[in-house]
């Protein structure tokens, strides 16, 4: 089911009414589990299509229980490798093409995010102190396949999830929470349905322009596609977070002002936050801990860190897709972040942290750093949508995109001098505004000729 479908709205509303009908944690967990099962099942026309997902979930549960049993690192490592290999096979990674392929009817929607949650949970179980409550099948299902986070995250932490599950019986929905959550859902749906649709059309229009230099058109197309991806992905996250709040879940934010970043490390602190954090905890930190046993001098540690960042972001890029284009995307991400870290380390040594902060605050430096950071990321994303045979003038495109970002930054800085106080939450104007958004969404949902782009992250 798509978020912007009457069927999904009906499922969510039915679940919400049933959930709030009885103030009992077990009842409410059962309601969410049933709604989640219906939601996951809705992606298949035939139950057989879910075989791969069910197999993966079952093996994942086995890995979690294995982690709890605290086996040796070789056994646990082999089990993790097996699960990742199964994931790559089910997702039909091109490197595994010589192997027999899984049945073509098996679907893999949601599998990537299930993988992250399972690995996180298994490693946490392995490293936990004795006395941690066991992970039951219901809690496992709700963690990996929740109605809210199954398709595209965010990747919540299991301990937070478990704590919130146990308190569901005490949750009562007040009007302020209901308004804030509904407003966020409406905003998210509008981002996906209207803004991302418009940006997608603009992207296609820019690509067709032949009366401007190719590098300028390419740079602009990259930026528009980045904005499209942001509207599409952050809109779906708004829906998920708003929906979760109606059911008593405080899910983690996935986007916090990513376009204000002054370098790539900062950018990843605000873009797809839960994925970045996952890679930091379970890939980067272990690599550094491993290397840290041998790297004793500040210089060797710096190079170890550069290597760690390179490997981590390469893997993060690689996760996004199954073809060689994503290998290049991962390499570009890894190289970009590694160079950023190297530059930051060298400059901190030379200027100290305060000196570097002062340098970064200088207007021309800040504008250039901002422009090239966003432009670089936008260009790497062109590997997601590139047209075979079409010219991709990278260097010219990078400068063109950076110039556009710097121009937009200047307009933004002027505009931000004018403050808008907004409307009082819950007041008549805010109700009217919510009603207008709901009416627009209903019009879109009933208009069968209106084409809304797919959620990009559903494909991962």
């Amino acid at each position: 089911l798509d978020f912007l479908s009457l069927q999904f709205g009906g499922l969510a509303l039915t679940a919400l009414v049933a959930f709030h009908a009885v103030a009992n944690a077990r009842w409410r967990q059962a309601v969410i589990a049933l709604a989640s099962a219906v939601y996951v099942g809705s992606f298949a026309d035939d139950p057989q299509q879910l075989t791969g997902l069910v197999l993966f979930l079952a093996l994942g549960y086995g890995l979690v229980q294995l982690g709890r049993a605290k086996p040796g690192s070789t056994v646990f490592g082999l089990a993790v490798f097996t699960l990742i290999a199964l994931f790559a096979w089910l997702k039909r990674y091109s490197a595994l093409a010589p192997l027999p392929q899984p049945p073509s009817i098996w679907i893999t929607v949601g599998l990537s995010y299930v993988l992250f949650r399972v690995l996180q949970l298994a490693v946490d179980e392995l490293q936990a102190e004795p006395g941690r409550p066991p992970v039951g099948p219901l809690a496992y299902f709700l963690f990996t396949c929740s109605l809210f986070t199954f398709v595209s995250g965010p990747i919540q932490r299991y301990d937070d999830h478990r704590a919130q599950l146990s308190k569901l019986g005490d949750f009562s929905l007040d009007s302020a929470t209901a308004y804030a959550a509904s407003s966020r859902i409406a905003n998210g749906l509008l981002k996906v349905a209207l803004i991302s649709t418009a940006l997608n059309a603009l992207h296609l229009w820019v690509l067709k322009q032949t009366n401007v230099p190719a590098s300028a058109a390419f740079g602009a197309a990259c930026l528009v596609w980045l904005l499209f991806l942001y509207a599409n992905f952050s809109g779906s996250i708004d829906v998920v977070l708003g929906l979760g709040a109606l059911f008593g879940f405080a899910l983690p934010e996935n986007f916090v002002r990513p376009f204000a970043a002054g370098n790539l490390l900062e950018f990843w602190n605000g873009w797809h936050i839960t994925l970045s954090q996952w890679f930091k905890f379970y890939v980067f930190n272990p690599i550094l801990k491993f290397l840290g046993r041998w790297l004793k001098t500040p210089s060797s540690l710096m190079w170890g860190g550069v290597l760690g960042y390179g490997i981590t972001f390469f893997l993060m890029g690689l996760w996004h897709g199954t073809t060689s284009a994503y290998v290049i995307y991962g390499a570009l991400l890894g190289a970009g972040v590694a160079v950023t870290k190297l530059y930051e380390s060298l400059m901190t040594r030379r200027l100290t942290k305060k000196g570097l902060t002062a340098l970064r605050a200088r207007p021309i430096y800040a504008a250039a750093a901002h422009g090239f950071t966003i432009a670089y990321f936008a260009l790497t994303l062109s590997l997601w949508w590139r047209e075979p045979g079409k010219a991709m003038p990278w260097v010219g495109g990078l400068f063109a995109a950076a110039a556009l970002v710097i121009a937009a930054r200047a307009v933004w800085m002027v505009g931000s001098r004018f403050t808008f106080k907004g409307v009082r939450a819950g007041g008549p104007l805010s109700q009217l505004w919510l009603g207008a958004r709901a009416f627009t969404l209903a019009a879109i949902a009933f208009d069968t000729s209106f084409h809304v782009p797919e959620l990009i992250y559903r494909g991962f």
Partner: protein
């Protein structure tokens, strides 16, 4: 859980060695923002040094979620650091 009496001076010693600063003073709210050299790389060096000093192992999530020295004290106490 109450802190072992020696925890704070030993933690200060660990921080001083890791960040090579004999004048470093810690409070519960001391964080990466207060120490010039405390970045993501030195964070892991610090975690390794704390693990060695107190004979404990911090999990990936514990090491990643640490925000300040106060949280580190609590974690080491809860883990029964020796």
């Amino acid at each position: 859980m109450s802190e072992p009496a020696e925890l704070r001076p030993r933690m200060t010693r660990v921080f001083r060695e890791v960040f090579d600063d004999d004048a470093l003073e810690l409070t519960d709210s001391t964080s990466a923002a207060d120490i010039d050299a405390w970045d993501s790389l030195m964070h892991i060096t610090l975690v390794l040094a704390v693990e060695r000093e107190f004979s404990i192992r911090l999990s990936a999530a514990e090491a990643g979620l640490l925000k300040n020295v106060g949280e580190l004290y609590k974690l080491v106490s809860a883990r029964g650091g020796k």
